[in-house]
């Protein structure tokens, strides 16, 4: 099955003596959108690092595009957590995108016209043409994250790995950036999207990988995000609430299991009080 984008076969990862996940089986097809959920420290980011070949699985196999992650690297795009760049970083938006195409090339050379075209096209696709030539450090978080998508997509990857790309963005930017990432599937790119907040991407997600304390569950959102399934996974009573089409995962003692800085959750609860 070499036409699979990602294939994990009974893969396990241990870091610092702690098992993050064990005997994980997961196949991801081209164009599929898989969200990775779970509490802090459950190994979501480590899952992405394993797909990047930065962590080796302690057991089992990880194949990307039919080979090792290292071999597939040129075909993997990566969008890190939204972290503001230094205000005076010596890069324009276009330079950041260009690094995604030419940054790994040894021997100094001028940018080839074909590469310049790809860079401009990638910037255009994310709607960043207007501000791409401004200093990167002076752009907003949402603008910087759009350029990050362009940077990852300019290399035309077949797999796009996103590690909490919506963190610290306002709600409008969250929706725009999520929609842009979702758009990339049209090119056949498979997407793995790590998040602690499923709601902004819920309509886009094909399947969810839910990691909790060494255990995991995989399935469509309707299959995984149920009271029974998550109670089993957490090994503690958990309730899944559907509030106006938004999913909330709550412990029976009424503390949300998502992180306390989960702005979206508070927003929903706030709306409820005024309803």
């Amino acid at each position: 099955m070499t036409d699979l984008t990602v294939r994990l076969h009974s893969a396990s990862l241990k870091l610092g003596g702690r098992t993050l996940w064990k005997n994980l089986n997961l196949n991801i097809a081209p164009g599929e959108f898989v969200a990775v959920l779970g509490p802090n420290g459950s190994g979501k980011s480590s899952f992405i690092k394993t797909l990047l070949g930065l962590h080796m699985p302690t057991a089992g196999q990880v194949h990307i595009l039919g080979g090792t992650p290292e071999k597939a690297r040129a075909h993997i795009g990566y969008i890190p957590q939204q972290k503001a760049f230094d205000r005076d970083i010596p890069l324009t938006g276009r330079d950041l995108v260009a690094l995604g195409v030419t940054g790994t090339r040894w021997f100094a050379q001028f940018t080839k016209p074909a590469d310049a075209k790809r860079i401009t096209a990638a910037i255009h696709r994310v709607g960043a043409s207007r501000y791409a030539d401004k200093p990167l450090g002076q752009l907003s978080g949402g603008e910087q994250q759009r350029l990050r998508i362009a940077q990852a997509m300019a290399a035309e990857p077949q797999l796009l790995l996103c590690d909490e790309p919506l963190l610290s963005l306002d709600i409008t930017s969250q929706q725009q950036v999520a929609a842009l990432i979702n758009d990339q599937r049209k090119l056949g790119t498979a997407i793995v999207f790590v998040t602690h907040e499923i709601n902004p991407i819920l309509p886009m997600v094909d399947r969810i990988l839910y990691l909790v304390g060494g255990k995991w569950a995989i399935g469509t959102p309707a299959e995984v995000l149920t009271t029974e399934r998550l109670t089993k996974l957490y090994g503690a009573p958990v309730e899944v609430l559907n509030v106006h089409g938004r999913i909330l995962v709550v412990a029976s003692n009424e503390h949300a299991l998502t992180e306390p800085h989960d702005a979206y959750h508070h927003h929903v609860v706030h709306d409820e009080e005024h309803a």
Partner: protein
């Protein structure tokens, strides 16, 4: 200016040009990687190496190279994170400088040799030393050309660069060695105490004027050349004053102009 026909002045001019290109090339990366203190640390310890070289057999330049490389190795081994790195540089610098003073107190030769190490004596560079400087300088410049793009990626966007499979530790290591070699060469021109005037100031001035990496590098090299060669020529005209004085003066002047001309924009 009649001096320009003399070999000593031609040697000096060649060395000043080469050193300016090296410093101009590494300066932007020193700023991006926040390594100004590492530059200062390695140059101070190039002094210790030079003092040891002088004591052991009259090889201050060779000693300085060894000293700077040892320090680069120590910096690389002791701390990879920025805060840790700065602290370890401080520790090494203080001890190493003390060692240099001790070594120098054993030295019974001309005391001007010591001031030459600290403040530079480009006119004293011999033919053999110049050949060494040229070989090292050309090697550094070529290496910078080879690693330019990956180093830029690793310096400005480390998370994605690592994800793309760039060898981050190797790049930092190579850059540390390049930095140590450049600092040692620059110390021959401006002295170990004033290396920053060529390795940081031109890049800092360029950083005020542009955010484009390529333009930053070009401007940094042009400013370093202006200061280095300009300072040398001025000191040939006013031959009682050391070139170091003119070089640091021009370098600071360029920075001041860049700073003032962009004051309203920033």
């Amino acid at each position: 200016m009649d001096y320009l026909n003399e070999p000593f002045a031609q040697h000096a001019l060649l060395a000043a040009t080469l050193v300016a290109i090296m410093c101009g090339l590494i300066g932007p990366f020193v700023i991006m990687r926040r390594m100004a203190f590492a530059v200062h640390g390695t140059s101070e310890l190039a002094f210790t190496g030079a003092a040891a070289g002088l004591l052991l057999g009259g090889h201050p330049v060779g000693g300085a190279f060894v000293g700077a490389l040892v320090v680069a190795g120590l910096i690389g081994a002791l701390g990879s994170r920025e805060r840790e790195r700065d602290a370890s540089i401080g520790v090494i610098l203080a001890f190493g400088l003390g060692l240099g003073v001790l070594l120098l107190s054993f030295y019974k030769g001309f005391s001007t040799q010591a001031t030459n190490i600290l403040f530079g004596n480009i006119f004293g560079v011999s033919g053999g030393q110049l050949a060494l400087l040229m070989v090292v300088g050309v090697a550094v410049c070529l290496t910078m050309l080879v690693i330019y793009r990956p180093l830029l990626f690793a310096s400005l966007d480390p998370e994605v660069a690592r994800a793309k499979g760039l060898p981050m530790a190797l790049l930092s290591g190579v850059f540390l060695v390049i930095l140590a070699l450049t600092v040692t060469e620059a110390a021959q021109v401006v002295g170990t105490l004033l290396v920053l005037s060529l390795a940081i100031t031109p890049a800092a001035a360029a950083h005020r004027l542009t955010v484009q990496p390529l333009m930053l590098t070009v401007l940094s090299v042009v400013f370093a050349l202006t200061a280095s060669v300009g300072g040398l020529l001025l000191s040939l005209t006013f031959d009682t004053i050391k070139p170091t004085v003119f070089i640091t003066g021009i370098s600071f002047g360029i920075y001041l102009i860049a700073y003032l001309s962009t004051l309203r924009r920033k």
